[in-house]
């Protein structure tokens, strides 16, 4: 019995002590503790890379592309799609639409990640740290700018006093972040401008065009000022970018292969959202919607490499074709069999299959692309538009002609004040046409029209209206020129007011 008792107590104590030491915790292998994530310069640099990664996410870059580009007259959807992207194209948004919800969510995640870094770097830190703070400020500004143009009405309407989006600045408390209300469009613009000015001031390192730098902040400032109709500032910041000498307009074959090379090698791109070869999204890429073909760029049937159901509109192709020399036709790859243009016959009238290749074929990979967010051509055209509005017609035409010459046009294809007058157009009309031609499929058109109080006219084959009728005009005052605030966000934060 004595032995048994000993055995008993020894076992019991061994177990009690032995198991107590088993009560330990573990750290994941693919993540680090947030408290350790921003403690030194190297980690802050790594975290800054992570901020970029958040908007490289498909929820931002792909869904955002659908929202910014599909409502335009540059494209035609050739068949009815079960994806919610069709609702952006058709202006038939639902409060529960998926792409606006994805975009909203990912944009704020990136802004919040930026906030954390912004708040740990002092303004008088080392140059490298100031650069990183500037990059994060730029990203926060870019997030808010894209949000406000997707969910808030164009700035000129009601002088920016319409509802914009919540401003997610650094230093907010947890509870404040749970119930942010929408600021006005003007307040959001002011916030964006302040961030960009400070970012430009902090940044001193010229990184590749996949990263923010002083010139990138200037370039976005030019666009932001243009959108809020501060034309002088739009010119000022476009000038700063042009004068920096970091960029030039690429020409000839280099231009026609603009989107196919290694993105960093492109001297015209100011900022792109870099996707590496391992980040080809296949059928879920932006390019797969526009193009189906082989790695050499030869157009093939739908489903060869992608869905191939969003085409350049007949309206756009006809416009480019007015000048047979226009190099910009090379960004459209008509799908031809035996030299006969193919039609998508799912709808009546049939939609011509003009594939768009601006989001395909980077480094020879068919569905790979690093979407270009800002490039030098836009700076010239921003300056042109601002000058046109300020009454500097010739200066505006000079910039337009610079872009047209680069596109291979010459002689009568270039504009003069006289030729513009003769065609009973204004200089601004000519600038807007050129922006359309040059920046097509890059997410500008819808804003260029609506902020200038112009209508979107889509009288061409496509699924944008119910079968049979192909005429559609969207007025800049239409409720649906902006998207609904995602219902799921309103459900989680009742301070958010819905758009009508």
């Amino acid at each position: 019995m004595q032995t048994a008792n000993k055995f008993l107590f020894i076992t019991a104590s061994a177990l009690v002590l032995g198991l107590s030491s088993c009560r330990k915790s573990f750290q994941p292998s693919t993540a680090i503790d947030e408290n350790a994530a921003l403690t030194n310069a190297g980690d802050i640099e790594t975290a800054t890379v992570g901020t970029y990664a958040l908007f490289k996410n498909a929820g931002y870059v792909r869904s955002g592309h659908f929202l910014m580009e599909y409502p335009t007259d540059e494209i035609a959807q050739g068949q009815n799609s079960s994806d919610d992207l069709t609702r952006a194209y058709r202006y038939t948004h639902l409060v529960t639409s998926t792409h606006p919800a994805l975009f909203w969510s990912q944009a704020y995640k990136a802004a919040e990640a930026a906030n954390r870094i912004i708040s740990v770097i002092k303004d008088d830190a080392t140059a490298d740290m100031r650069q990183l703070k500037g990059e994060n400020l730029y990203i926060r500004a870019m997030m808010h700018f894209n949000l406000v143009r997707i969910f808030g009405r164009p700035y000129p309407q009601n002088s920016g006093n319409n509802p914009g989006v919540p401003i997610l600045k650094d230093g907010l408390s947890d509870s404040a972040k749970l119930s942010l209300a929408r600021s006005t469009v003007k307040e959001v613009y002011d916030f964006i401008i302040a961030d960009l000015l400070k970012a430009a001031d902090l940044m001193s390192v010229s990184k590749t065009n996949a990263f923010a730098s002083k010139e990138v902040a200037f370039a976005l400032l030019s666009r932001v000022y243009l959108y809020k109709e501060d034309n002088a500032k739009a010119i000022e910041y476009a000038d700063k970018v042009i004068a920096s000498g970091r960029y030039n307009l690429i020409t000839g074959a280099e231009y026609t292969n603009y989107f196919r090379g290694v993105p960093e090698g492109n001297k015209e791109t100011i900022f792109c959202i870099r996707h590496t070869k391992v980040e080809d999204r296949g059928y879920s890429s932006i390019g797969s919607m526009y193009f189906s073909g082989d790695g050499s760029g030869n157009a093939q049937n739908q489903a060869f490499s992608g869905w191939g159901e969003i085409y350049a509109s007949k309206k756009y192709v006809d416009k480019v074709a007015e000048n047979p020399a226009d190099l910009r036709m090379s960004f459209v790859s008509p799908y031809k069999v035996n030299n006969v243009l193919q039609l998508n016959s799912k709808l009546t009238p049939n939609t011509p299959m003009y594939y768009v290749n601006k989001y395909s074929l980077q480094e020879g990979i068919v569905n790979l692309s690093s979407p270009v967010y800002i490039r030098l051509a836009e700076m010239y055209l921003n300056r042109a538009e601002a000058n046109a509005k300020l009454g500097n017609g010739q200066l505006a035409l000079d910039d337009v002609n610079r872009i047209r010459q680069r596109a291979g046009l010459s002689g009568a294809a270039l504009h003069t004040l006289a030729s513009v007058a003769a065609s009973s157009k204004t200089v601004l009309d000519v600038v807007m046409e050129e922006r359309w031609l040059e920046l097509a499929f890059e997410g500008h058109r819808m804003y260029d029209l609506f902020r200038n109080n112009m209508s979107m006219v889509r009288n061409y084959p496509g699924s944008h209206v119910v079968s049979g009728n192909v005429n559609q005009t969207i007025l800049p005052t239409d409720n649906r020129v902006i998207f609904f605030i995602p219902q799921a966000e309103i459900d989680k934060n009742n301070k958010l007011a819905q758009n009508p």
Partner: protein
Amino acid sequence: MLVFLFALLAAIYSWAQNNSTIIISGTVKDKEGLLLPNVSVTEKGTSNTVITNEAGTFRISVKNRNAELLISSVGFQPLTVKAADNISIVLEAKSEELQEVAVVGYSSKKRIELSSSVSVVSGEKLRDVTSNELTSLLQGKAPGVVVSTGSGDPTSGSNVLIRGAGTINASTAPLYVVDGNIGGTFNPNDVESVTILKDAAATGLYGSRAANGVIIVTTKSGKSGKAKIEFTSTAGFSEATTGNFRLMNTQQLYDYQKTFFNPNPAALNTNTNWWDLAFRRAKVQSYNLSASGGSDKTTYYISGNYYKEEGTLINNDKTAYNFRTNISHKLSERLKVSVLLNGIFTKDTYNPDATVYDAYLNMPFDSAYNVDGTPKDARYGTWYGRDRDNFLHSLQYNFSKAKSFNMNGDLNLDYKISKHFSFATYNRARLFNYRSDAFYDKRSKEGATDAGALYNSTSFTNKLLTSNRLKYTNNFGNHGITALAVAEVEKTFAESIDTYATGLPPGRPVLSTSTGEKKTISGRVDESIFSKYLAQADYNYSNKYFFVASFVNEYSSRFGKNNPSANFYQLGASWIISNEDFLNVKPITFLKLRASYGTTGNADGIGDYAALGLYSISQGASYAGLPGAAPSQKANPDLTWERMTTSNIGVDVSFFKRIDLTVDAYNRVSTDLLFFRPLPATTGYDGVYENVGSIRNRGIEFNITSKNFTRKFTWETNLNMAFNRNKVLSVNQGRTEVFTGARQPVAVGRDMDEWYMPVWAGVNPVNGEPLWEKLLTDADGKSYVIYTNSYNAATRQYIGKSAAPKFTGGVTNTFAYNNFTLTAFLNFVYGNRVYNDSRFYFDNDGLYESYNQMQLAKGWSRWSKPGDIATHPKPVHGRTDASNASSTRYLEDGSYIRLRNIRLSYDLPNSVISKAKLSAVRFFVSGDNLWTLTNFSGVDPEVVLSGGESSIKYPISKKVLFGLNISF
């Protein structure tokens, strides 16, 4: 605490010693020869009582050789015998069902002695349906156990819910305990019995992770005596169920499209039935060979099993090889060692393409074959279907498969320290290796853009568990006491590697041939620990009153640093009224009341690091080829165990020894619910893991077994039913919904599975437009309904209908005559609503012309002219009114009753088999799921009940199987 307990036990032990004159020993067995533990042996006319030990033996000191012994045990007829040394006593059972031994907690007891709500399913009853998976065998066999199978894919599992979902986000899966330890592996053929523990008093010992109930599996062991060899062979066919669902053929689709579109008349030349191309009559086979037996000291059970089930979907099957050895040996009178080994090798073949989707949606207008009979490559030429998919073309080249090796070894020692103390250590190592390969050939549509793609993934997991138990049992007079102390720890380690490589030559599916981008190369390591201490005490008085109390402290590395461990306690009591003298009513042969109360926890359904604030450093956080780190998870250091408090009262009653009835009522309140609470995007996160609120499940369940005829012709009926009602009691931080905006938002005061969506109001007879309800409020604050044709204007509403059934159950009838036995088992589910999500595609009112459509179900109609009262709007090609968006339109009654199994078996007469020196030969024919009654318009109403959605469903199978069972 533990030390105190031991001290107490030691004190009781010494007090219980007594002196005696003549010592008599003996054994007590039942009619089948099973040794009976815990039988009271009383010297008649005295209070001198002993209890048989686990081997059914007893030693009692009596005053003289003429003493008489009164042998009694719950569930058996009492017996008086004359005392004699080495006496062998056989007790006759009172009622069969109550004799079943239920393995509960860390011991086994007769059901009759339990204070808890448990269901026992014997191995025989389990194996009528043919499946390699225990869960699908359990369906309808025990009250309150709801099994739902979301897919007919033999490689996928089913979902088990015990007494309704007591959790929102955490797992609702019950805890499996195999051969006395948490977790573990087994093949259904090796199962001796399954015990399902439902209330806190029973589940509590498994503590903390047992909140969803516990399924205890005991595998077979050998019995001393002659070796027994058993061979079972089952083979048969299966077909996909298609229920009420019919797709259109070419003519039907063409005629329908004519009403809103100009289909190409050339399409009429082809009429492809894609469903028939995707599904097949599949073969199922299972062979099982086992040997068992042993000596007084050693027993063994060895078995091997081969199982192969083809999916009804082409290119889909499961093959499993299972090997088990259970050996136990008595090293001495005091020390028993048991070694249990189970190895399972599984090969799964998955259909690599969107074949099920295509079976529903590919157009009959498109031909699957070229004129030369080869599969057509849908990428080229005319193709009407939206996806340009011909799976027959892709399946020539592509494959997806996985194999796994699962090794489970238990080493258990039982040491009898003294007459009253015993110590046991149960130790288990589980090793799991997994490898999957998916290859998309460059010649196929799926592999073309990558010029061939190969996905490889391997993983290694081990779980090490040790459970150490000290037990004290003693009986003095009419008092019986058992006390138990356990210390247990389980550590899990897992590592994995995943690769996605591109640029492979045709038909060369190995990584070395890849010359393209290696798009993913990822690997990770995960570790977690659970550990606990528990103490339990059982007391019974005179086999009439039973009490049990237990306490558990458990730690999990998953929870926040502020609250990683928690305490749980359980209490139970029962009273066998029929053992009282005052209850001497003829019809009632047994009557027992049970009550229990206690708390349990839930730690499943969240990841290993859910409480930590994290920056992800995986490839997704990289940019421009540089490694990055991005915020990925919001911290919640307070995150802690989800807790459930369960009260249960039950009654077990037998009438005339013919009818056994068990009724249980329970109330289960879950608090600190684990949930990934969605946060506004402006927080920078999608959400955070929190303990968000509380819900209640209450219900009644009963099980009745009636022997209707018991003579030459026997007929036994078993009916079990369960009614569960769920209600969300509270949500923290002043909110009223957990998952605001979802189709099932989990709102205070409502069923957690209640649907919330716009209410479909039918079709406007004037113009054929869809209508939804819009709620408005008048000046007096009264709300009223108007109808709107704008989906955005429609009001999302709680519709008072839930994805949870009002009741579920099963009926089994067994008829036997001579050597024939016929068993028919029906299971039913009533009152749930299923969201038939795929109608978005195949019932879309003309929106998409490039998907095949379903034929209108019975009672449905399409609007065609003003005045029509129709269920379906006027078809409009490319319509913009969102008539197919989420609304009650696609919410259907999911009730069904199904003939889950019918089985006829024939045993060769003894006269024949004894000549052949066999001990039993049985033939059987068995049919699974042959008949289903439902109003559901899809292929099958059975869905995973917690989600309640039917989407591009791989339907379950009807099976017809033939079998042979031979024992030597």
